[in-house]
């Protein structure tokens, strides 16, 4: 993984007289000693207490930082102030501070969310704010996690396969699509790949072993986008059922709850995919209809043939490896 933990401290801000002096940066997983928190864990008036996970693959613990409160801040602002004034070695990813790059995903008071889109004044006043890295992915350092699992899953999604152009389209120079046919899948294009939905999904969050056979909500949304595309000709239903674990999803809608782009992942992507899988694999009337009309469903192997990750691979849980299993046969 090339991603170095991004630590980009802002310019130091003036601390008020009561602020503790900056700590000397410690190396590696060392736990940043906290400037004495108050006995109840809450900051006094006009101050905020941040309880931030510090550590790496060697282990770690929460460290407490107390800062003066400032109006109009989001959690990421305060984390940057911690970096600037007390813990210059605190690692966190961020980029746009506008909820569009999907970098600053973390768990704020236990809830997955973007630090840049979580206003401090929406959190319980007077209580410490807990910030932990996304739990589903291996930690690199502090708030930075290794999300490469998602990139490997992305390679297993069979890409867009447009139908051939008609003679009219060839003459016109390109495809022609009706607005009502393309607008449904536009919702999924809003995804910023923050991977909060993947983080909160209990199928992999609480069951590591499922990572080898579960695409996750972000990639179900991607498959739904392709399946609903008016030009796409691939049929991913058997692949979704047999190789990508669509049946493991028990539609508890946590992915929808945490999506910062408010994509209705469950209602508009996962459940429609589940219904399409029912058409392909579980509905005897639909099966009969296909037989009568001489239509076939594409097997998982056929659907996966065009995906970039197609090919033999194996993953043993607990072992760092390259790649995750490519879709096999049905």
């Amino acid at each position: 993984m090339d991603d170095e933990p991004t630590t980009e401290p802002q310019a130091a801000e003036p601390e008020d007289a009561a602020a503790p002096p900056a700590e000397t940066p410690s190396a590696g997983a060392a736990v940043q000693a906290a400037p004495a928190p108050d006995p109840h864990g809450a900051a006094g008036a006009g101050r905020v207490t941040m309880v931030i996970w510090r550590g790496d693959e060697g282990g770690g613990d929460f460290a407490t930082y107390e800062l003066p409160a400032q109006d109009g801040e989001v959690v990421l602002d305060v984390v940057h102030r911690v970096q600037a004034t007390q813990a210059p070695d605190l690692a966190c990813r961020w980029n746009c501070k506008a909820g569009k790059c999907g970098s600053c995903s973390a768990e704020i008071n236990g809830k997955p969310g973007l630090m840049c889109m979580t206003r401090m004044d929406t959190l319980p006043p007077g209580e410490p704010v807990t910030i932990a890295p996304m739990k589903t992915f291996p930690v690199i350092r502090d708030l930075v996690t290794d999300v490469s699992y998602n990139y490997e899953v992305a390679k297993r999604i069979p890409p867009f396969q447009p139908r051939p152009k008609t003679a009219d389209e060839e003459a016109a120079g390109g495809y022609r699509m009706a607005q009502i046919d393309v607008e449904r899948s536009q919702e999924f294009r809003k995804c910023i790949e923050c991977f909060l939905c993947q983080d909160v999904c209990h199928v992999i969050r609480d069951h590591e072993e499922n990572k080898t056979a579960f695409a996750g909500p972000r990639f179900f949304a991607r498959s739904a986008e392709l399946e609903m595309h008016p030009l796409d000709t691939n049929d991913r239903r058997e692949l979704l059922r047999q190789e990508q674990g669509l049946g493991k999803c028990n539609i508890t809608k946590c992915c929808t709850e945490v999506c910062p782009e408010h994509i209705k992942i469950t209602d508009n992507a996962i459940i429609p995919l589940k219904e399409r899988v029912v058409d392909a694999a579980f509905d005897p009337v639909a099966w009969l209809g296909r037989k009568i009309l001489n239509r076939t469903t594409r097997s998982a192997r056929e659907a996966a043939a065009s995906s970039p990750a197609h090919g033999p691979a194996a993953v043993q849980p607990g072992t760092p490896v390259s790649g995750v299993p490519a879709p096999g046969g049905d």
Binding site: N109, T130, V139, S148, E152, E208, K248, V277, D283, V324
Partner: protein
Amino acid sequence: MVTKEDTIATPVVLGGVRGGPTNVATLRKDRWWVQPVTTVTVLTAFVAYATWAAFINKDYYVGAAQHRDLISPFYSPCLTGSCVPGSHPGTVLSWWTISPALLILIFPLGFRLTCYYYRKAYYRSFWWAPPACAVADAHNSYTGESRFPLVMQNVHRYFFYAGLVLNTILTIDAVMAFRQPGYGIGISVGTVVLSVNAVLLWLYSLSCHACRHLCGGGLKLFSAHPIRHRVWKLLTPLNSKHMVFAWMSLVFVALTDVYVRLVASGTIHDAGFHF
């Protein structure tokens, strides 16, 4: 030479060390447990009441003796030989000797049990998989709905079809309730209750995800099927309120049974008027 077209495997660590504490189920500080507790309370109360009402096998029909034609939704259509006179369109199963409600309730039970909303509700609140978002799953292993018996959730659309038949029958019941034997046409609290019940059940059924898929959601090209696209567009706003309709219809169907039961047993009088 490596080109950008080559797929370069990214090292993926499975089973790597995760950040955050390992010894707590969640770091959430809000009252995440309120929702599962409420769900367990309401669903348990409903199941207990519905079971009692289904087995009690009496006081489910208000007939001509009270100048009414009100039947509980738990017992309609009443198809067995043991049905109260006047409550049934005709005996279909004369050999069925236990409560006729048991014949009927299997369909709405199956419809709600396999409903995408209720699945969320009971997986969270009863099975704790997970109890709430970012709260640890209560089970060591998990296969979801990919194996028997939960793979049977995929029969949902067939219970939806059965639900449409029952909704039609309950709608006919509500219309027929406006006939007041001996008086003519009239309106009473009972007719309003049955009508509202039928409307809520229709809203619940029409907002169903399977319904939305079957009516148009499964299409690749809306432009080739303009009528189905229009139906899909009509159903989509309803679908976003499926949870609301699920709870409203669940509670009201029980209240409808309670009302009919109270009138049938003579506990209260069905107030109304006739033309």
